[in-house]
Symmetry: C2
Subunit: 260 residues, 2 copies
DNA sequence: ATTTCCATTTCGCTT
DNA sequence: AAGCGAAGTGGAAAT
């Protein structure tokens, strides 16, 4: 692995180092006073100020201020970056087609400039959201209720995808809507639309599934439900099952963190 | 402004520099081989690899891999960071209350470590999205059609907020749904729900607005509309007006960028 | 503090 | 390439 850095480079040194970094597909970090103009899906302008510029080998281009998680300006992966000197001033540019987007960074002064040839093939293992909740239910249907049998996942309807379809032990159709965090009013409206599809006689979903003249039960599954949503479902006979998405990684070597 | 940087610091130098940077509320950039564990809204683990760590004075804590715009792990502003040595290993930690979130970074090797005392008060000026489109229509209603008069903005209904309400020159009610980019099928469904509200006799919106026994016109306003949405609106008598959000900054000194 | 909705959302997955 | 939905969404404005 190769690292290279320079403090207070002059304009020519800056140009050479950045150019070298770009050609080598290095990850480049620059501490600089710069001004930024963006034109693309929107248009923006940011006057001179001290910022961090991060250029990644996949073409991503980020400019970070001293606040917030999100970059103030950026370009997505596969953008093409270049460095140039115009009127004795140093510029960075990043360009993207489809949609056409352009970022121009005028650099007044570079304080630090580093680049490194890194390749990070490690992938983040993450758990604890909707997909994991769905996996859990498919794996252990009894967590919903004794005798529950899932039949379809991501079942497509006119109004969107139903997270899980299944039957209870009496053969009634069950429509499950999952949320990893909290059931709100919108989730109730959503499942209500799915249910109205099925309740519509003209609709053929029931026949498709070989389920006729049975009840249709709507279930919302999430760790919590908010008060408004709770009132709504009580009026409409929709059920709620409290279930946490499993916060477990697949290769589970994770040690519980000490309290801070 | 104060900058400080070190190449290949040993563990004690690293600790001192980071600790100093944190105390001074500096912006810290670290090029390091590290392993990351997160526990909070979800839970995640990332094995050792070469990454960029960025700690901002507002408490934001970002870990970037060599790909993508988004950090692989992060903590939001107001998180509390600290550096520590445990079993002769260097760790960074970041903690947040409400919701409770914790990030632990084990550092195997630091290649570069920089910090800088920067304060960037420049704010991004941006234009070209939905709000600008709404401003434009309120300012120049004739862009929708001759005689159009907006009456309400962000008008609240059971199904959400209608972007703009108004009347045409015959006094018919007009329901406008704006998009800064492209009308898709979802936007049509949305305006359809608003319209069904108004068309329902039991509904009192019309009386509230003093508009009775008039037509109700649904308009989608955006730069473009996709093919599916176009077919839908033709069947349902919803109209489409093509309008670009104004891509103009308020203090407009912006020079058009040269082509790349 | 909580809710709601927009975003140059980004990102991953499916068609 | 385009569309769809989730996200540790983030962030701002309103309540």
């Amino acid at each position: 692995m190769k690292f290279k850095g320079k403090e207070d480079p002059n304009i020519d040194e800056s140009f050479d180092l950045i150019d070298e970094g770009l050609r080598k597909k290095a990850t480049i970090v620059i501490f600089a006073c710069c001004k930024v103009i963006y034109e693309g899906r929107a248009i923006s302008q940011l006057d001179f100020g001290e910022r961090i510029i991060l250029i990644k080998p996949d073409g991503s281009f980020l400019i970070h201020q001293d606040k917030k998680v999100d970059p103030v300006n950026w370009q997505p992966p596969k953008s093409r970056s270049r460095v140039l000197i115009r009127n004795e001033k140093l510029f960075l540019e990043s360009f993207r087609r489809t949609p056409r987007e352009h970022l121009e960074v005028e650099i007044r002064k570079i304080h630090f400039l580093n680049y490194a040839l890194i390749e990070d093939y490690q992938e983040l293992e993450i758990a604890g959201y909707e997909k994991d909740l769905g996996d859990l239910i498919i794996d252990k249907p009894h967590l919903i209720e004794e005798g529950f049998k899932p039949t379809n996942r991501e079942y497509s309807t006119e109004h969107g995808f139903i997270d899980i379809l299944g039957n209870d032990k009496e053969g009634n159709l069950m429509v499950l809507e999952l949320k990893s965090r909290k059931i709100g009013v919108n989730a109730v409206k959503q499942i209500r639309r799915y249910l109205s599809d099925f309740e519509d006689e003209k609709n053929s979903y029931l026949k498709d599934l070989g389920v006729e003249k049975k009840k249709i039960r709507g279930l919302l599954v999430a760790p919590k439900i908010d008060e408004d949503a709770k009132e709504m479902i009580e009026e409409e006979g929709i059920e709620f099952v409290s279930l946490e998405p499993p916060k477990e990684l697949k290769r589970d070597k994770l040690v519980t963190l000490d309290s801070f």
